[in-house]
Assembly symmetry: C2
Homo-oligomer: 212 residues x 2
């Protein structure tokens, strides 16, 4: 079953970096993965949306719908998005479950530490009154009630956080279901049938697996 | 390379039926296909959009972005959408090409014949003034300048139209690139390796195809 890993957390909590790290590891393990990029979605899908409570909810809802669409087609998704409201944290889960697996990953870093890091200088701008509705400064951030995974990025180095997420996913047996038995041969139909004939004659496969 | 088949045409031109028929044949031939459903997208992705010229353009643009996202992940798409404006017919192509293959299929049926069929009674409602901005009655429909395929559904039976589209796609050699050699066995890793060992010992495969 395909899955959506939804990384939520404050601005500058490290969620995009973490999502990217997890994506890389999953690709190495053979998963089909799309990393939905929030900025790309905003630009292409809904340049009209702003950062009001309602627009954030719409952004979350639309993104969840796209996650679901990809999951239904066998593509798993990692997505990093602040998702500051509990209503939306619940709603995106309801959109994706139960047809696909939804894992809410809370990337936890204190407001103080996020402000201290502030790689894009956004907290400084928000505190100077240059950004309206900035999460944690002049707009709410609601911690999730029941995240599936909590990653502490207060002090952990990135690599450790990535490992922790992967171990947690393994514990949930989420990574077992990958069709490890799917592979591609660069062979012609004729060669494929020759191999299948041989496997059938040896009793490894039965006739029904032969394609015309 | 994955592709998007974009079926455009008047209301009641038969584009959704045709798209569904082509989808079915492509699935039978082993393609990974998503049939993007216009109504589903309107409901889930943008319930806010109406039928003004601008909203139709936005609907087309967003849908094209989702086509591209699926194509990038190896999922081909069929999509049926009126796409009444030439600007949008060009724009959706520009979004999807050149990374993926975009085929604009003009499902051609005259206004008179579409009105005669009118399976949902929408033309009748529009002519009675009950629907605003209905394509062909009180909103424009611009025939495409350079569609890749034109299917005449004026008099052709559905099965013939489906065949015609598939033949046209074959002529464009669009359906050749499908990895016909990809298949899934429902076997364990252990069994897979047992088969591979046997194939290697028989000289059908070499060592490099063995996974750990």
């Amino acid at each position: 079953m395909s899955f959506t890993l939804w990384f939520m957390g404050r601005p500058a909590s490290g969620k995009s970096t973490l999502a990217k790290g997890v994506e890389t590891r999953l690709r190495e393990r053979g998963f089909n993965i799309e990393n939905l990029d929030g900025d790309k979605l905003r630009k292409n899908l809904h340049p009209d949306l702003g950062f009001s409570r309602e627009d954030r909810a719409t952004n979350n809802r639309r993104t969840a719908f796209i996650c679901k669409l990809l999951n239904q087609n066998g593509i798993s998704v990692v997505n990093a998005m602040i998702t500051p409201f509990r209503d939306s944290q619940r709603e995106v889960r309801d959109i994706i479950e139960p047809e696909s697996e939804f894992i809410l990953i809370y990337v936890k870093r204190s407001l103080e530490e996020a402000k201290r890091r502030d790689p894009k200088g956004l907290y400084a701008d928000a505190e100077a009154g240059k950004i309206d509705k900035f999460t944690g400064i002049n707009h709410p951030f609601q911690e999730p009630h029941n995240p599936d995974i909590i990653v502490d990025t207060e002090s952990s180095p990135e690599a450790k956080a990535v490992r922790y997420v992967l171990e947690s996913l393994d514990e949930k047996e989420l990574l077992n279901e990958q069709p490890s038995t799917e592979y591609r041969f660069d062979i012609t139909k004729h060669e494929e049938n020759r191999i299948k004939d041989r496997l059938i004659s040896l009793g490894y496969l039965d006739d029904s697996s032969k394609s015309e």
